[in-house]
Structures are given as structure tokens and as C-alpha cells.
């Protein structure tokens, strides 16, 4: 092989390698480049959520977070929990007994009731400032293996 051929071969090899490398690594390099973001809007209090805390709800409400409706309870003691306003007196009524609790500062409440076999209608009633509100959830229980 003469000098020209050898030179041509080496140049071809080099160019091929460069182009192949660009094709393989190029997309990754482009993705890794992060362009600086420019914002032309004026800064305001709304753009800084950390300085504006979420206001606590003031309208009277009561909700049941657990159990879910139509759930099958694992055992005959059921923990009923949910949310209402802070300091609200909450009664949790089951078919066999009831529990009375006071909602905590974050409005969370939890009470325990015993279940009977079959269908159980659990009623939660909240009392605050002369107002009363109720929610009911149905839960099922059986001691049999399902």
C-alpha cells in the first residue's frame, strides 16, 4: 500500500470515528445542557408561597377519612378517624357502643367502636358553637375467613 492510500485510510477512519461519536454521545450532551431561564415578570407576594400560609378552614364541617364506605373490617374493633374544626366535640356511634372525643388543633379526631357481625352503620356527629353535623359510613364485619 502506498503512502496516499495509507493516508486516505487514516483520514477516513478518523472522520468516521468522529461522526460516530457525535451520533452516539450528541443527544446526551444536548439534554445535559440547561439553558438559563429568564423571567420578565415583576416579583410579587403571590410568587413566594412560603410566606403566605394556607388559612385554616372556618366553615363548620365533619368528614370521615377512615374507614372507607362499604369496607370489610378486619376485626370487631374499628378505629374511625376524620377531620373537623379544632375543639369540636365528636361522637362516634356504632351498633354496640359509642365514643366521644374532642378534635385536636389540626381538626383531626379518632374514636373506637365495636362492630357486630353483618352490616354496621357508623355515625359521626360533630357539635360546635351550637351547631350540629353528622356523617354516616357503612362497614361490614364477619369472623369467618373470606
Amino acid at each position: 500500500m502506498n503512502r496516499d492510500a495509507l493516508l486516505a485510510t487514516l483520514i477516513g477512519l478518523g472522520v468516521g470515528l468522529v461522526i460516530t461519536g457525535l451520533l452516539l454521545v450528541g443527544p446526551t450532551l444536548v439534554k445535559s445542557i440547561s439553558l438559563p431561564k429568564f423571567s420578565f415578570s415583576f416579583p410579587s407576594a403571590k410568587q413566594n408561597p412560603s410566606t403566605s400560609p394556607t388559612p385554616a378552614p372556618t366553615e363548620f364541617f365533619v368528614s370521615i377519612d377512615s374507614p372507607l364506605a362499604e369496607d370489610i373490617a378486619a376485626n370487631d374493633e374499628l378505629l374511625v378517624s376524620g377531620k373537623t374544626l379544632e375543639g369540636t366535640i365528636v361522637t362516634v356511634q356504632g351498633p354496640k357502643d359509642e365514643d366521644v372525643v374532642t378534635a385536636k388543633t389540626d381538626g383531626a379526631y379518632a374514636g373506637k367502636v365495636m362492630l357486630i357481625e353483618g352490616k354496621n352503620d357508623i355515625t359521626v356527629t360533630a357539635y360546635k358553637d351550637g351547631k350540629q353535623m353528622s356523617q354516616t359510613v357503612t362497614v361490614y364485619f364477619t369472623p369467618e375467613e373470606i
Binding site: G16, L17, T20, I89, D97, D99, Y127
Partner: protein, 241 residues
């Protein structure tokens, strides 16, 4: 000739590394992609299986019953249930939980059926059936009147309906206060204006009347004043000096 040879060599060396690199890059992602697709398929199959068969309980009335199937009429629709051989049927009879056989299940029975619901066949494969007795009624409201002579109280619900509640010897009365919590209480503790929860059984042939099983007295939570009719009765019974 030389030019053609040079061109051929150039092309070969240009394309060869590219071809090798392309082949190797396709080999790695194809194996990963295959594993990913396999995992997705297995997950989708499992989700479909779980959706198809899910633990469920339904409550309703027996509409039809045979040796192997039954139809339960619920509040929303009729549900067909498959009665398996090892199904457990129970009922509380005279205070005792009693196991029964399938032939004891009758049309009109109020039941709760537990089993696995097949969404594809729209069928509940029953594993346990509980035949329910009449459930007690629950009311919550404010005491508007107490009658010591009859041992009854009148409770008015937030909807405006009034119920007469009979206090029986078996009635359990509990009183709740914020400082003492729940304590046992007697009929004398019940006062007009108190917020109460009553669980009882309806009195036969008497509308809006309950025989109380349990009463929970929360005291005067609503802040409403004692009704004037009760005040009048109190002054009438006060002995004159």
C-alpha cells in the same frame, strides 16, 4: 483505479466504526426494553386479576334462592351470588350465633353476603352469609320534655321530627362531660335542652316511639334554652310555701 480503491477504502473505514457503534447501542437498550415490557405485562395481568376478583360485601334481601345460586336485591340493583359448597351461613338466634345450612336461606331474608366479586361475570362468589335480625333505630337530637311519671323523654331531631323514647329497666344511659368523660347515668340526669343520641327498637303499633336500648347524654351542647313548656311543668310541681 487508484482513485476508486482509495474511495472504497475511505468509505469502508468511515462506515465500519459507525456500523459497529450502532449495533452495540441497539443491543443494550433492546435487552432493557424487553425486560421492561415483560414487567409491564406481568403487572397488567396482576392488576386485571385483582380487578376481576375483589373482596366485597353486599347487604340486601333474598329475592330468589336455589341449591347453587341466589339473587340478592340491594338498594341499587339485584346481584347474583354463587353459593359455594363450603359456604358459611350464620344467624343470631335468641342471643346465640348459630351456624345454618344453605336450605335455611329463604326468600325475604335480610342478609349480608361476603365473598369475591367477579367483575367480568358480574357475580359474587359467596363465602359467608349472615342473616340479619331487625337492626335498632338510631336518633339524635335535643330533649324537649321529660316525664318522670311515665319514664319517657321527647327528643326533637334537627329535621324537626319528634320521638317519644321509653326508658326501660334494660336501658343503658351514659353521660359525657368534657372534664369527666363518659360516666354511667340515670334517668334523672336527662334534662330538657340536652343533646342526646338514642338507639332503640320501634314500639309496635306506635308511630315515632322507641324503646331505648342505649342513650348517650352530652349535656346542653347546642346552647338552646330550656323550652317554656318544661319550665311551666316545673313551676306547677314546686310546692307552695
Amino acid at each position: 483505479m487508484k482513485k476508486y480503491m482509495l474511495f472504497s477504502l475511505f468509505s469502508l473505514f468511515f462506515l465500519f466504526p459507525f456500523a459497529v457503534a450502532q449495533a452495540s447501542s441497539e443491543a443494550t437498550p433492546s435487552t432493557n426494553q424487553k425486560q421492561l415490557n415483560d414487567l409491564k405485562d406481568r403487572l397488567a395481568t396482576k392488576v386485571a386479576e385483582l380487578r376481576q376478583l375483589q373482596r366485597k360485601a353486599i347487604s340486601g334481601t333474598v329475592k330468589t334462592v336455589s341449591a347453587s345460586t341466589a339473587t340478592i336485591e340491594t338498594a341499587t340493583k339485584d346481584i347474583k351470588i354463587e353459593l359455594l359448597d363450603d359456604i358459611a351461613i350464620a344467624q343470631v338466634i335468641k342471643g346465640t350465633r348459630t351456624k345454618l345450612t344453605i336450605d335455611k336461606l329463604e326468600k325475604g331474608d335480610q342478609v349480608v353476603v361476603f365473598g369475591e366479586f367477579d367483575a367480568t361475570l358480574d357475580l359474587l362468589r359467596a363465602k359467608a352469609i349472615f342473616i340479619e335480625s331487625a337492626l335498632p333505630q338510631r336518633i339524635a337530637g335535643t330533649v324537649v320534655e321529660t316525664k318522670k311519671t311515665d319514664y319517657t323523654i321527647t327528643v326533637k331531631t334537627p329535621e324537626g321530627k319528634q320521638y317519644t323514647v321509653d326508658i326501660e329497666t334494660i336501658t343503658k344511659i351514659s353521660a359525657w362531660t368534657s372534664d369527666k368523660g363518659m360516666t354511667k347515668a340515670g334517668f334523672s340526669k336527662l334534662t330538657s335542652g340536652d343533646s342526646v343520641h338514642v338507639i332503640g327498637t320501634p314500639v309496635a303499633k306506635k308511630e315515632d316511639r322507641l324503646s331505648a336500648l342505649r342513650i348517650l347524654d352530652l349535656g346542653n351542647l347546642t346552647g338552646r334554652p330550656i323550652p317554656t313548656e318544661q319550665v311551666t311543668q316545673k313551676s306547677a310541681t314546686t310546692p307552695s310555701q
